[in-house]
Amino acid sequence: MMVPSPPARRPAALWPALGIALLIIINALFDLLAPGGPGLVGPGAFLHVSLRDGVPAGALIDILNYGATFVILALGMTPVIATRGVDLSVGSIMAISGAVAATMSVGGRPAAESIALAVGIAALCGLWNGVLVSVLRLQPFVATLVLMVAGRGVAQMITDSQITTFHDATLEYIGLGRPSWLPLPFSFILAGALLGVTIVAVRKTALGLLLEAVGGNPEAARLAGVRARLLIVGTYVWCGACAGVAGLIAAANIKAADPFHAGRNLELAAIFAVVVGGTPLTGGRLNLVGAAVGGLLMQCLTTTMYTRNIGADVAPLPQALVILAVCIAGAAPVRAMRAQKAAR
């Protein structure tokens, strides 16, 4: 007898993807219509991709390169939010991770050791969050707020309140590397690989079902024998480890650990990326691809602000407007309206 497989889930990555497309079109129009502008693909245009020192460069490549940080943060945050949690400390964990790696590297330790220790400590930070939330039953918002505030202090202690620059080809490669075998930034390949691994881990095992059950109805999951508390601790450990990787990329991008600014405000960007990607803050559903595309959308916004020469002080306003537009397009009443129209 033929037994059909369960159908694939609906792609919730649609809205952030449309957001990215919209931004690219707007940028292209600016380039095209501006008098004396670069035209659609001329040098300096948003869509222009050149080879600089044999590696591709341009705004689009920048988005992939720097977007890796957002994508990885969002991947870590997704299981946390899907189980009704939230992690506000990811920005501070990024700073800690970068500080650890830079300090180790300056101290002459091999890159592999620095990387392992940085990610390990980031995972421990996640464990701390997880224990506060799952064992001591603190509200996730408050529990992770503690590390959000304290973590930056920890990072400053590690670097002695200095911006610590390092010179280590392997460490730098994480953020700046351009593999010869693929015309893409290494950080983006890393993010893509992490996405693939996460999808397999969540959808090819029963992890996804168990996480969604815990997020959808914690008491029902517990009474069905799901190890809800252990799973929740696990989500925070994973989130911390991802923030650690993101911290390495951020440090490598500037060849330095900046305990003051690394990862600052990125927790909010990560939460937004997850939510716009179809994982509701109320939990119970999990969408990794959506979160990753959401992460790219955040970087696309930031890059647009740079290329359009919008100052950092006013950039939040247009950013907020785009975020609002994407949210409204995906909001339940608007979707219902569209569905009604389509039905007629």
Binding site: P6, E212, A213, A221, L223, A224
Partner: protein, 518 residues
Amino acid sequence: MSPSISSPIERVESTPTLSVRGVVVDFPGVRALDRVDFDAHTGEIHALMGENGAGKSTLINVLSGLYPPREGTIHLDGREIRPRTPREAQAVGLSTVHQEIDLVPAMSVADNICLGRHPTRTGLIRQGATRRRAEAALASLGMYVDVSGSLGDHPIAVQQMVAIARAMDIDARVLILDEPTSSLDATETDHLFRVLQHLRDQGLCIVFVSHFLDQVYRLADRITVLRNGMKVGVWEVAALPKPALIEAMTGRTIEREPQNTASGSTDAAPEALLEVDGLGRRAVLAPTSLTVRAGESLGLAGLRGSGRTELARLIFGADAADEGQVRVGGARIPAGSVRDAIARGLAFTPEDRKAEGLVLDLSVRENILLAMQARRGALRPLRPPQQMQLADHYIRSLNIRTPDAETPVRNLSGGNQQKVLLARWLAVQPRVLILDEPTRGIDVGARAEIESLIARLRAEGLAIVLISSELDEIVRTCGRVLILRDRRTVGELEGTRITESAILAVIAGAGTVAGSHE
């Protein structure tokens, strides 16, 4: 004028207070209401009957402004109304008390009654006036409670009255009650009915939905029956005997399960699967002992709050006992460990299946799979084709009515949700099944199916513990009954001595019964 062709009676009367004509409501893939007509008059209690999925709740939600209908009209006192939100419905005089009481437990009783319509002076709430208005509203229902206390501290019955008082406070023309008695005991139900009759005699139009046929016959003046989203007809209660009502609801004649008095519990005693010895928890349950053998079903009877649910949760480990022990098949289970209990073959369907049993947004397949997958662990997933097979197997064998296995459980009716929960446990092949109110809020057809399923499982050698407020269900299903009162066991009945009146006598405390544990 013939509003409904199939109507067995048409009252030639003044215009109805509430008149619904040709209402159509569509959900994705389903027509929930198909050109439904419904009339209710001032000074009558009108029961809306039908199996789960018949469209009762949808019709109520249309009237309370939750689902604007796709087609059709609603007239109130001859004027057309189009309530688009619950607030608009209330403003025109349609007030609904939902099954799950939608009040704010943390706020005071007075604030709940006056919420959104507080008496104010220059924008500030007048606390004294609020209290007096709430007290007056409750007093008119024969209720005298402390209106300053939090609503959540009061029993469900009081909360129910508060919900009705709130409805009355807004000068409702039509009061709609969805399953108002599902959480009430007999005394509380009696009181509610007296209040409703009083309100009717004062000229209120009351629409009443209930699964309890007896209550409908006690209370209602007329009955409208829906089936599969369509109106079957409307009758005077006196003109519609129970069997005819059930036929109208189900579209077929229901065969009653045979009386189950010979339980065979005295045959060469089979293995004691569940042994509970002095199990208790301070302030929750006095030490309780019981034994259930393979192929036996033990009933736990008693009023709500007597300790039945607490006992079940302690046995399963949902709450941790602080004394006594539980053994399944001879192996002791550590207190408060659900996973150990499941591993030893215990299964438990909680009383509130939506809050504690099902993950409503997950599909039928995922809900059925959950306990098995939790036991196998995250790293040993069932392969997708096996998942589908498992789901399809139980959808067929338990006759779960769902469009397909991928439908979210939220979209199923109560009876089918209960079957999904049962399927989840059957998939892990338990030896002891503890069922807390498995037929609560479920229609006649599904109830009979679940009862016969219990009988089948018992015949297969499971030990069953059944909690039910429906004494006839306990009498039909159980070979032995443990009776609880005030959080302790007060008696036990066996075999042919199990009758509704005998159980009631023990609950009421009329003498001790032989075989009592204490």
